[in-house]
Symmetry: C2
Subunit: 189 residues, 2 copies
């Protein structure tokens, strides 16, 4: 039995997939702050204790769902030029944060930060996996002989204003704004 | 009696001052997400219904407290040069967002945004008052003959990365980072 449970595609993997799908549906349907573990369990057809045992808290589950979603929906671009990659990345970020339920991720991050969680004290915290992938994209550009900015410049110039506008501005940045953000990250020519 | 209540410094003003002080104390003492209207009322020595009547929701109260705090603690700088003003502004933002309880403001903004509040649909939403003050600072620089960036550039280049680092990075940007943010806002020389 143990062997079967550990097999990818076994019961365990099905539970994870069902729970993640339930979270994505629920945060898109309503105020994500109102979604409870009980509702997620019901929608996924699992026991709430399975959720607590695997993820610990609702916030940890939200972060996990976002990470899995980013992996699938927003693969790191590889367009052949750094400017092309950064523009594609900017469009991904703008699309994801402004989708219904997109802010649930930020809300979960703030909740984890405030509860003094120490799992994510590494540089860029809950973004660390994504940050490592972006660093590979920058390294690839440098290998091609392009002049690549530092990772912090990419996050400060592109990710930060898109998130800020989502939080305060109620609007998705237009294409010309994204181009300005990318040019800032690339720095003075 | 009505005349007395409306007088600045009267009972009404004392309630507002006591409630704001209670919020500032409580969010600095503990996880701001755990602060309740009941606790605020108890600390301020007022009835919870007074809080609901005046502010409506906990989130609206949090935004009001932040606005009042910014007014007092972070007056718009007037150093004589735009670069000096922007650097002073960047230091204010970094200091306020990283103070104990500083993230409570962002959390309240996210809560208001998610509940579909329509009071703050103006440009830059809950930041609109602050944005107008910053615009005056930029206009003053232009009047002196300095080349001033657009307000959005200031928010995108300075406010956004400081907030992003507070949310994800667990650290206050160092002085040299703030100088980089300011130079980006000022644009290519």
């Amino acid at each position: 039995m143990t062997e079967v449970q550990r097999r990818p595609g076994g019961r365990s993997a099905r539970v994870v997939a069902a729970v993640r799908a339930a979270v994505n549906e629920l945060v898109a349907e309503r105020n994500p702050g109102d979604v409870t573990v009980g509702e997620i369990a019901e929608r996924a057809g699992v026991n709430p204790t399975s959720i607590y045992r695997r993820w610990g808290t609702l916030e940890a589950l939200m972060l996990d769902v976002e990470e899995a979603r980013v992996e699938v929906k927003s693969p790191i671009p590889n367009t052949g030029t750094l400017r092309g990659d950064l523009l594609a990345y900017a469009r991904q970020v703008a699309r994801e944060i402004t989708r219904p339920g997109g802010m649930a991720f930020l809300r979960a991050v703030l909740a984890v930060r405030q509860s003094g969680d120490t799992q994510h004290q590494s540089s860029w915290g809950p973004l660390h996996k994504r940050a490592a992938q972006l660093q590979s994209m920058l390294d690839r550009a440098a290998d091609r002989g392009e002049s690549a900015p530092a990772l912090n410049d990419v996050l400060d110039c592109i990710l930060a204003p898109i998130y800020l506008r989502a939080i305060f501005g109620n609007s998705k940045p237009r294409e010309e704004h994204l181009a300005i953000f990318v040019d800032r990250a690339l720095g003075p020519v």
